[in-house]
Every structure is written in structure tokens, then in C-alpha cells.
Amino acid sequence: MPERPRSERPQLERPMIEIHNVTRSYGSFKALDDASLTIKEGEFFSLLGPSGCGKTTLLRMIAGFDNPTSGLISVDGQSMQGIPANRRPTNMVFQSYAIFPHLNVEQNVAYGLKRLKLAGSEEKRRVEEALAQVSLTGLGKRLATELSGGQRQRVALARALVMRPKVLLLDEPLSALDKKLREQMQVELRRLQQAVGITFVLVTHDQYEALAMSDRIAVMFGGRIAQVASPKEIYQRPVNRQVADFLGGMNFVKAEIVEENGASLVVDTLGFGRVKTDKPKAFVRNGGAATLGIRPERLRVLWDNATAKFEVAGKVVERHYFGEITHLIVEIPGLEKPLSVTETNDFGADDIPVGTSIRLAYDPDALVAMAD
């Protein structure tokens, strides 16, 4: 049975993690600067951002390994101030997996259960169940040193899930795996999260990982949260150039604001003419200038005499072949920077010679206005 589209899945609206104006300073340096965020129950939430932007810092404060310099964190309605890591309803999957080397897989998974003093059979049942959830059945007697990277990751996952936490925190859990395994684990992790219904908070610097797995994403830069939204909105309606750039290639065109009202923005551009776009949520006008963006895959090559309602004309100056797609760099008269166009290769975009004059079609809905 195919998975239901994400937007149709029932979303619980109860807040699970609330972060209120949290700052973490190291001397005068702020690793996290006045961050506020609400993560809902049952949500797959990602913290996305470049290296050093404070993702791990935030995650470790939720787990209790670090404390905010100022601000409050609460989990499931309960303030976490003064509550040590071992008494928080959260569990963590560490980036290095942190599998206990002196214990075998079963003992690793049962580690946290030991303290609960369950009946032997109940403990065994829960360990078996957790191992089955991560497809490790039968490997219980192996030592950590006898496991592959992917298997170690599953042990770390099972060891945390077996505790039935309210929140599972994952710090770049897939970054040590090779590409193929990583993509497989992305799907599995997502499926697992839906099966157990636990709130997942994933830290990643891989935008595709965040887009593919999350219900919502917080994009962070330099200790600040730039945007919190669904993957689609983050990708299609980035709040500023930095976010747009981090989420993949984007063509930026200089724009002049002609009219601004409640929900829309009318801008004048060279190349694309006068365009009316939705106004981004956190748009703050900075004089009369703005930026208009369009993703390379939203520009289409018009073949032969085909016409479109909205088109721009230009000349191919570069061509890069990538197997199933081709990147064309197209110079448009009046634009200071050429446009980057991604075209699938089924119509022969890979055969367009450099120097050819072509026309590009676009959908005005694909144009997005941004603060600079």
C-alpha cells in the first residue's frame, strides 16, 4: 500500500518540545542565539544547517547534556530546567553511535532496561521487539566490534527505541554511511518513525535528507533559526537568499518593488518583466530592492516553434552532462548573471550545442520574492 501523502496524514497539534528564547554562549561567542521553536507530538522534525551553526548544541540541550545560558526548554509540557539527562523523557542516537564495546548487541539494547527491573521474559521480549524493528533479529549475540557501520547504527537506534522515549534525538545518524545505505536508511527511518509514532528530532547538514524525511524543517545559520516550515515550503518559498541557496541551486534575479500589499508583492525585473508573487511570511522590506528567485528545474527549454505564455529568450553558454539530467547555463540579455537550467535528457537537452539561441518557459508561480 503506498504511503499517504504527507499533507493528508493526521497531524497531532499538541506541542512536544518548546524552546523559548534559548541562547548558549561560550564566552562572547553565541553558539545558539535566541532560538525559539515548537516541535509537535509525533512529528519528524529536522534541524538543518551548515557545519557549526549550532544544531548539535541545541540537540544536546534538549537531551540534557548541556544547559542554556538563558531561555527555557520544556518537553511534553514539563520544564527541563534542572532535570539531568538521565531523567529526561528523551533518548539519543549519537553520531558515533556510542555502542558499548564490552557488551554484545542484546546487552547493548537491554542496557537502559536493566534499571527498570522488568521481569526477565518481559525484558527479553522488548529487546527482541526492538531488534526486529531495526531488522537485526538473530544478531543479538554479536559484539559491537563484529558489526558493520549500518548495523551499529541500527543497534544505537534499537537501544534508544526500546526505552520508549517521548522524543528520539538523532545527531547526524546517517552521515557515516555510504550513499546507497544512507538512502535506504532514510526510507527505513521514516517508516520506523511512522510505525512507532515517537517524535523524532533529526540533526543534519544534508538538505536532501531533511527534505525527504521531515514533516517540518528548521533551517539554521550561525546560531539563529532562519525559517521553520514544511519541506515543500522551505524549498519553494525560502525566506531569504541564504536559505534558498542552502536548499539547492536557485537563480537570483535583481528586482524592484513596485507594489506591496497584504499577501502579495509586485516587482519589476529585467528578463522576467513585471511579476506578481506571494509575499513570503517573514518578508521585511529593505528599501525598494528585493530578489526574485527561480529553481533551475522550473525553467523548461521550448523546442522548435512551441510557445508558452511566459518565456524568456537567451543563448546557451555552457552545458554540463549528469546522466539523467543536463545543466544548461543560459545568458539572458539584461540579466547580470546567466540562468542555470536543469533539463531531463529525454528530449535531447544533452545535444543542444553551446552557442544556440533558445527560449525558456516558466510558470510565474515558480518565481519567489525574497528579502536580500
Binding site: 538521565n86 549519537f94 558515533s96 556510542a98 558499548f100 564490552h102 542496557y111 537502559g112 537501544r159 534508544a160
Partner: protein, 305 residues
């Protein structure tokens, strides 16, 4: 090596073949270990062989009768005096290893986990007492534990005792105290090294799974530092069994150890074969005890899971 390889061709051996030989890993390996190997052979293996040979012979006043006999071993194992000395030596060395490890562990733990940026400074400070001669350090314990010593005066000053206690010096406890102090630094280092190797995220993982500081220490840090505990215990245990200076200086009549008896046989008593048999017996028993220590610590480590 390069100089030899580039020299003129040797007799009957082509340059290429000789180079191949010189570069082969086993030859290089042997070349690298040969000085140590020779050293060990001359200074360790030969003397031991001589001792073992003597243990099967008989002393005939000034000459040695070289007919094979087990008489020396019979004496070493059955004469009450030697048996008692052997037991006492083993007891003392076990106690010393135990106390040394128990005292050294917290120090090593503190330096490793809370030493911050000054770890090497701390380690350096620990070595300072060892800049003085061992004899001086033993003597200073005599000053502390003696009849008119620091401890007795202190206790009398506090009114806890009326006259100086003679129970402090010249017995096995004095030997244990002195040896424990003498070996502390040697036990701190291996424990420190093994604690340094404990991945700190493992402790965090234990905390994350619900363990408080004491539980995570007992379930993660302690078992993972077991190799350091084993080496520390062995480093202390093996040489202390055969120590003879310390019992001589602070042991008195009740603190005599097997090494003092061995020394007497090679010295005043002039019965080398018996001395040799006592040495070999001690060596074998120490080996057994060391093996048992490793097994016991490993078993304890397994139980802690």
C-alpha cells in the same frame, strides 16, 4: 641500512638479491629487535638458566655437587620457615597491589576526567617524590612510623595514646604501607592510560539511557578501564613479592619476606642451590598468582554487565 645497500657488491651475492634480502620484512624486523633480543638473552635468559641449573644441584661446603636432585625443592616447599615466608610475601604483595590500585584509581580518574588542560602537569607533579632515592623514601617512612616518629608524637600530642606505640614499625603492615607508597605512581600511569581511552560519549550514552553518575561509572567506565587495573596490579605485584630492601629496613622480625631468605642463602648461609630453588619456586608462584589476578579481574568485569 642504505649505506650497506649502496655499497660494493658482496661476495657471490648480486646486489639485487642482497637488496631484496635486506628489504624483506622479517630481516628488517630481526635487525630492529636484535639489540633488545641480545640484551634480553644475556641479562635475563642466561642468569635464569644458571639459577634453574643450580636449583637441581647440591652445595658441598665450598664446592657444588652437580648430580641431579630434587632435595632443594623439597626443602623449599616443606620446611615451615620457607613456606611461611612465601605465604607472607604473597600476602604482602597482594595487599600492596590491592591498596595501590585502590589508591591510584581515584587519582588517575581525577586526572583523566577532570584534569582539563593540565593533565600532563598533574602527571608530572606525581613523579616528583620519585626524584629522590628509594632508600630515602623508605627511611622517611621510618621517621614517620618509628618509636619517636612523627605519627607517635602526633598521637601522643592529641592525647590519644599515653606512650609511643611499637605496633607501627617493624612488622608486615609497615612493609605494606611503605611499598604501597613506593609503587603508587607506577600504578597511576597504566590506569590513567586506559581511562584516557574510554570514549566519553559512551558515558554520555549510559547517562542518556538512565544511569546516574555512579551507575554509569560502574557499568561503563570501570569495566572499560579493566586492562589498566590488570596491568597496574601486575606491575606492582610481581616485583613486590621479591622485594628485599623494604622488609630489611622497615619489616623487622615480623616483616621478613622470601627474598630476604633467598639473599641469606646466596650470602651468609652460602647454600646457592637452596637459594636457587627458593627463587624458582617464588617465580612460579608469582606467575600463577599473576595469571589468577588476570582471570579474577576479567570475571569481575563480566559479572558487572
Amino acid at each position: 641500512m642504505t649505506a650497506a645497500a649502496e655499497g660494493a657488491p658482496a661476495f657471490g651475492m648480486t646486489r639485487a638479491r642482497r637488496n631484496a634480502l635486506l628489504q624483506s620484512e622479517s630481516v628488517q624486523g630481526f635487525a630492529l629487535i636484535s639489540p633488545t633480543f641480545l640484551y634480553a638473552l644475556i641479562l635475563l635468559v642466561l642468569p635464569i638458566l644458571v639459577v634453574i641449573a643450580h636449583s637441581f644441584w647440591t652445595q658441598n661446603y665450598l664446592t657444588i655437587d652437580r648430580t641431579f636432585t630434587l632435595e632443594n625443592y623439597r626443602a623449599a616447599l616443606t620446611e615451615p620457615i620457607y613456606r611461611d615466608l612465601l605465604w607472607r610475601s604473597l600476602y604482602i604483595s597482594l595487599m600492596v597491589s590491592f591498596f595501590t590500585v585502590v589508591l591510584a584509581y581515584p587519582i588517575a580518574y581525577f586526572i583523566s576526567f577532570h584534569g582539563g588542560r593540565h593533565k600532563s602537569l598533574w602527571l608530572f607533579l606525581i613523579t616528583i617524590p620519585f626524584w629522590t632515592s628509594y632508600l630515602l623514601r623508605v627511611m622517611s617512612w621510618k621517621v614517620i612510623l618509628g618509636y619517636n616518629g612523627v605519627l607517635n608524637s602526633g598521637l601522643m600530642g592529641l592525647g590519644l595514646i599515653d606512650e609511643p606505640s611499637t605496633a607501627l614499625l617493624y612488622n608486615s603492615s609497615a612493609v605494606i604501607i611503605t611499598l604501597t607508597h613506593a609503587w603508587a605512581a607506577f600504578a597511576i600511569l597504566p590506569i590513567f592510560v586506559s581511562l584516557e581511552k574510554v570514549d566519553r560519549t559512551l558515558v554520555e550514552a549510559a547517562t542518556d539511557l538512565g544511569d546516574g553518575p555512579i551507575r554509569s561509572f560502574l557499568r561503563v567506565t570501570l569495566p572499560l578501564s579493566a586492562p589498566g587495573i590488570i596491568s597496574a596490579a601486575l606491575i606492582v605485584m610481581i616485583p613486590t613479592v621479591g622485594d628485599y630492601v623494604t622488609p630489611k629496613l622497615v619489616g623487622g622480625k615480623d616483616g621478613v619476606m622470601i627474598a630476604n631468605a633467598i639473599q641469606a642463602q646466596f650470602g651468609k648461609a652460602s647454600n646457592w642451590p637452596l637459594g636457587a630453588a627458593l627463587s624458582v619456586t617464588t617465580m612460579l608462584i608469582v606467575t600463577l598468582m599473576a595469571g589468577a589476578t588476570v582471570v579474577i579481574i576479567r570475571a569481575a568485569q563480566r559479572l558487572a554487565r
